[in-house]
């Protein structure tokens, strides 16, 4: 199982006087099979960090390591799930073909591709909808399809960028549980960026709280809540509220000290 190491990664945009440092020497390790949530105030470099980790963007300094290999391009071992499913699923293909496309690119033989795709779609509850087009499905189902695509790819690390932000609360709860289910079965390493603190506490083994820009790791919080998690039971635990409050307080403090150009502080 691969260890994901982020080693003093920094990203600065522009040069000279106009230079803006989005993230500044962020370091952490994701243990194999761990579910790690990343939260932070609005405007902190969450997306930038994720793009550097995923290999889409090169950091200005520092490096991302998979075991001892440096990540310079999107690695085979990682699969993404984006927030905006309607722009990441290809509308000219049905769901099934969307799922098999990365497998075709990986030169997998047909039989294997088909099997993986069918399994992945079934595991997210879309077994009967493979021939539908993304725009024929609801938002929640589209995001499931995106998750199925990532799963079929057989990665070791799953990267999710605010994956449930664009769906309603009920669907979000369902998808959170789906993710936990899938994670429980596959034991992937999961990195999930979210602005929803409840979600972070509910899902995570550990939570990374980021600071305002220039972003650093403000604190790492271990979530000791028992598994399996439950939307009702877990959230009733006093420990849940306690963790939630700590994270919230940290973020609020970060937003308060944020530079004027950042978004407004969250209401509390």
């Amino acid at each position: 199982m691969t260890v994901l190491g982020i080693d003093r990664v920094s990203k600065t945009y522009g040069a000279g006087d106009d230079a803006v440092t989005a993230i500044d020497e962020i370091s952490f390790t994701a243990e194999p099979g761990e579910l790690l949530c990343i939260v932070g105030p609005s405007g902190c470099g969450k997306t930038t960090l994720l793009r550097c980790i995923s290999g889409l963007m090169a950091p200005t300094s520092g490096a991302v390591h998979l075991d001892d290999r440096t990540v310079t391009a999107p690695p085979r071992a990682m699969a993404p799930v984006f927030q905006d499913y309607s722009r990441s699923l290809l509308p000219w293909m049905d769901i099934h073909h969307n799922v098999t496309l990365p497998l075709k690119a990986a030169r997998m033989p047909r039989a294997e591709r088909e099997a993986l795709a069918s399994d992945a779609l079934a595991s997210v509850g879309l077994g009967a909808h493979g021939r539908k087009y993304p725009w024929q499905l609801s938002g929640g189902m589209q995001q499931r399809a995106a998750i199925a695509r990532a799963l079929a790819y057989q990665p070791e690390i799953l990267l999710l960028d605010e994956p449930f932000a664009s769906v309603d609360a009920q669907t979000r709860a369902d998808l959170e549980d789906l993710l936990l289910q899938v994670w429980g079965r596959t034991h992937l390493t999961v990195l999930l960026v979210t602005h929803d603190i409840d979600e972070a506490v509910y899902l995570a083994d550990r939570i990374l709280v980021l600071s305002a820009a220039p972003t650093r790791v403000r604190k790492t919080i271990t979530v000791d809540l028992p598994r399996p998690r439950d939307q009702i039971a877990t959230k009733e635990l006093p420990e849940f509220a306690h963790l939630r409050a700590s994270v919230f307080a940290l973020i609020k403090a970060e937003s308060g000290s944020a530079p004027p150009t950042d978004a407004a502080t969250p209401d509390g």
Partner: protein, 261 residues
């Protein structure tokens, strides 16, 4: 700082470079033999011929003849196309009644009418105008009918509530709302009309830029021929730019639909 500077520099240098490369290609290709020198003189020679045409005044008469027909065609096409389009677009009856007819007439390539027009007009320059009117009316009809269906019904109702009569409403609400569509229609029609006028001149031998091209071609004065083609191209660019500028001014406040090409 250097990043910004490079961006701005590129915005100027690159287009200039592109044009320069193409000009150089057209200059060298005949000299090197890629294009036959006998029938495609180097660009400098054609440019010189264009300069001669301008200097001796030989360009202006045909140019005016072309422009004259073009203006006539535009006026007539507008006077026919805009009211027709507005009438058609304004009522469901209108659209149902004329839809099929227009769908049949529209795909007819305008140039196919030239032989019939020759039978009717012989060698009268009116042929050009009629041809251009046929081609240029359709875009105006379409744009006018789209425009009028796009008028905000709330605006119309508000106007009526304030006691504005039908003509006042037409003048103050409907037409301004249609204006962006009409501007787009005019731009498209202007191009089509110009192309058809010049085509008519070339194919039938009617006075204008097109006929000058034909004469130069027949007398193997190829540098002059290309010079005239370039002049027609420049005229086309000028017309396009002018109408596009008007369109942009009329459009700046309106989120309208536009044709891609």
């Amino acid at each position: 700082m250097p990043f910004q500077f490079r961006r701005q520099a590129e915005a100027i240098v690159l287009p200039v470079l592109g044009v320069a490369v193409v000009l150089a290609a057209f200059e060298l290709a005949p000299r090197v033999g890629i294009l036959p020198r006998a029938t495609f003189p180097p660009l400098s020679e054609s440019a010189r011929a264009l300069g001669d045409l301008v200097r001796t005044g030989d360009l202006w008469q045909p140019l005016l003849e072309t422009l004259d027909s073009w203006v006539r065609a535009m006026v007539i096409a507008t006077l026919i196309g805009v009211p027709l389009g507005l009438a058609i677009g304004a009522s469901r009856w209108g659209r149902l009644l004329t839809g099929l007819t227009i769908d049949f007439l529209r795909p007819i390539p305008s140039v196919a009418l030239i032989p019939i027009l020759v039978l009717v007009y012989g060698t009268s320059p009116t042929l050009k105008v009629t041809l251009a009117v046929f081609g240029a009316t359709f875009p105006l009809v379409f744009q006018a009918s789209y425009g009028i269906t796009d008028v905000d019904p709330v605006a119309k109702d508000t106007a009526r509530a304030f006691g504005m009569g039908p003509f006042t409403r037409l003048w103050r609400i409907v037409l301004p709302s249609c204006a962006p569509y009409l501007a787009t229609g005019l731009r498209i029609s202007a191009s089509i009309a110009l192309i058809l006028v010049v085509t008519g001149e070339y194919v039938v031998g009617l006075p204008g830029l097109g006929r000058e091209v034909l004469i130069a071609q027949s007398s193997a004065a190829y540098d002059r021929m290309y010079a005239l083609i370039m002049a027609a191209g420049l005229l086309g660019v000028a017309v396009n730019l002018a109408f596009a500028a008007v369109e942009r001014r009329v459009l700046f406040w309106h989120p309208s639909q536009r044709e891609a090409a």
